[in-house]
Symmetry: C2
Subunit: 357 residues, 2 copies
């Protein structure tokens, strides 16, 4: 039976980079005789414009029925003035919670060909390879109650709730311990347990699981220190696990350490290994439609999709190899351009990857 | 009438670096004929050991009666296993809220003499001078309800509350706008208004005040992007204002960009300009008592104290000048040591600053 991939290009540069990823998918389908069907749906601003809502019921339904989702990016100035519940981001958040995609894997890898793009000194980032595992369907992102209320004295106050249940913490910790086992065996759990009860509870539960993973060296770090240590000496980390909010901040910080955020893919998985795959970068409305966007993060997101949700390891390996090859050839989009390299468009970059397959 | 400074050395390296700052205070008292009285009290682990509580009532009382507080650092492995309400950190948090020290000013400045200590490339940080203004007595640090509860299904869950009232947001924003007016006129307010209602409320109120400060250029940034931009191009910032939790993370990240966290002071002020002054670095229990600690952040905290709470600008300027002089002379403690410089002890560094006065 053929596998189903749902494409959700979204807004900004989303459609143009998804187009390139689909060229690459066609190439690996042929080379590896994969039986994969692709369908499309609307999400984010594109869905707001067409149907008045960032996550149409039909999109969520198709997403649930597919084996994996290739997601572009959402958001842009056209929709910035909408109330929070109607914004493009709600499409993304609705998919995460609707499909229970609780495990967000965000690798921060330095491509040796792009070493000089980092704002950090070369020796501090050479060979950098961190995996940040962010809880994605809980914490303050989804906690209730939330909103703005008026107090007795007439003043207003805004409030949100940071909350984690035992089962939510244990399932993300399990993913993290297992990921560390497959990598270098080191796991750092990040919290603010000296101030926040909810994260002290997180630390207690993660510590309690360490006995089941005696081959993993578990450490704990406060989030403020983690932000410092990422800047000071990022290679001290192997796998980092943390909650939704801290993960949002630390994963972007870690991605930027590589200097090549246009290169970084991510995966969001549920218990069934159904997954949504998207670049770490956003919709970049300022360069949308100009053929300037770097499609490699989207293409590498496709590789992750093939690896994690479809189990097509050879195809995933081939794509990652091809991306390395085009970098070796000196091809660069504007975001990773450097002297002596050849500047190419979004489509030329996609074609070059296809040629290497 | 003489002004009162309360010294709270705390734990770890706190006592030894406060000792050096007091030497410097004696020197400027003499040189500028200042009438200042110094008293001492216990806080943190030291107070737990002596009196069973991290913030004895007597300490809080003395703090309230003083014009300013010179704070060392709290915490260490000896007290790590205590329950959250009894830990050394509660002493610090209790002082912040007890004195209503809502405005935390954290400069991230690169000392030209220490330019190479940064993990960032030199051109990205040369001349770096950012001021992070962190709200310090509200947000998720103090929000209620908080704790761990058992759900109907028998599962436990940990929870905290992120909450900001109108008046809390407006008073910190006022401090930030005014600070920007005195600096380069640019203010960046950091939030996560695309996800969290409480921070969308923050953005709404800060935006509403911009009209009163037409000489300040106000911008807004999501916290994940701010963490990235600090790493990518820190010099784009002048003043950053944000809530307690985000401020904790971003200020540590910004401090580390300078590579010299042992050099950075901070001030925590209330409406009356009463203030608590402390180094950005922590209690460093691993090097405590060995004469290795860098006293300069504590000494620069004293300079901030003289400037902000006592209005002794000339004395503050003189101390900052003297710190620059000892760096020019090539004196370095271990944390900022580099080739060709002279390694000195905590006390030698303090003495050298005194000699320059
Ligand atoms: C767009 C936004 C809602 C989202 C998040 O905060 O999770 C983004 O920053 C991300 O990290 O995927
Ligand atoms: C020690 C801790 C409670 C404190 C905080 O989180 O505020 C510290 O990290 C700081 O930034 O002053």
């Amino acid at each position: 039976m053929s596998r189903q991939i749902l494409c959700l290009p979204g807004d900004g540069i989303g459609p143009e980079i998804v187009t390139e990823a689909l060229k690459v998918l066609d190439a690996v389908k042929q080379r590896f005789s994969l039986d994969i069907e692709v369908s499309h749906a609307l999400v984010g601003g594109a869905a707001i414009d067409a149907e008045g809502t960032p996550l149409p019921a039909e999109t969520l339904k198709q997403a649930k029925q597919s084996d994996a989702i290739l997601f572009g990016a959402v958001g842009g100035p056209d929709w910035d003035d909408l109330p929070m519940t109607k914004r493009p981001e709600k499409g993304l958040l609705g998919l995460r919670s609707g499909l229970d995609l609780f495990a967000n894997l965000r690798p921060a890898i330095l491509f040796p060909q792009l070493a000089e793009a980092s704002s950090l000194k070369a020796e501090l980032v050479a060979g950098l390879d961190i995996l940040i595992i962010r809880e994605l369907t809980g914490g303050i992102y989804f906690g209730e109650p939330r909103g703005v209320r008026t107090l007795e004295n007439g003043e207003r106050e805004g409030y949100n709730t940071y909350v984690y249940r035992e089962s939510e913490i244990k399932r993300i910790a399990k993913v993290a311990f297992e990921a560390a086992q497959k990598r270098n065996g080191r796991l750092c759990s990040v919290d603010k347990s000296n101030v926040l009860e909810a994260t002290a509870f997180w630390r207690e539960l993660v510590s309690g699981m360490a006995g089941d993973y005696s081959d993993v060296e578990l450490s704990h770090m406060y989030v403020d220190n983690a932000a410092m240590q990422l800047v000071r000496e990022p290679k001290q980390f192997d796998v980092i696990v943390t909650g939704n909010m801290f993960g949002d901040i630390l994963s972007d910080c870690a991605a930027m350490l590589t200097g090549s955020i246009g290169m970084l893919p991510s995966a969001s998985l549920n218990e069934k290994n159904q997954g949504m795959y998207e670049p770490v970068h956003g919709s970049a409305p300022d360069i949308a439609g100009q053929g300037k966007a770097n499609p490699l993060a989207q293409i590498l997101s496709l590789a992750m999709l093939l690896r994690y949700s479809l189990g097509e390891i050879a195809a995933a390996d081939a794509i990652e190899q091809a991306v390395g090859d085009v970098l070796d050839q000196g091809l660069r989009t504007g975001d990773i351009a450097s002297e002596g390299c050849r500047l190419v468009s979004t489509a030329q970059m996609g074609d070059a990857v296809v040629n290497c397959l």
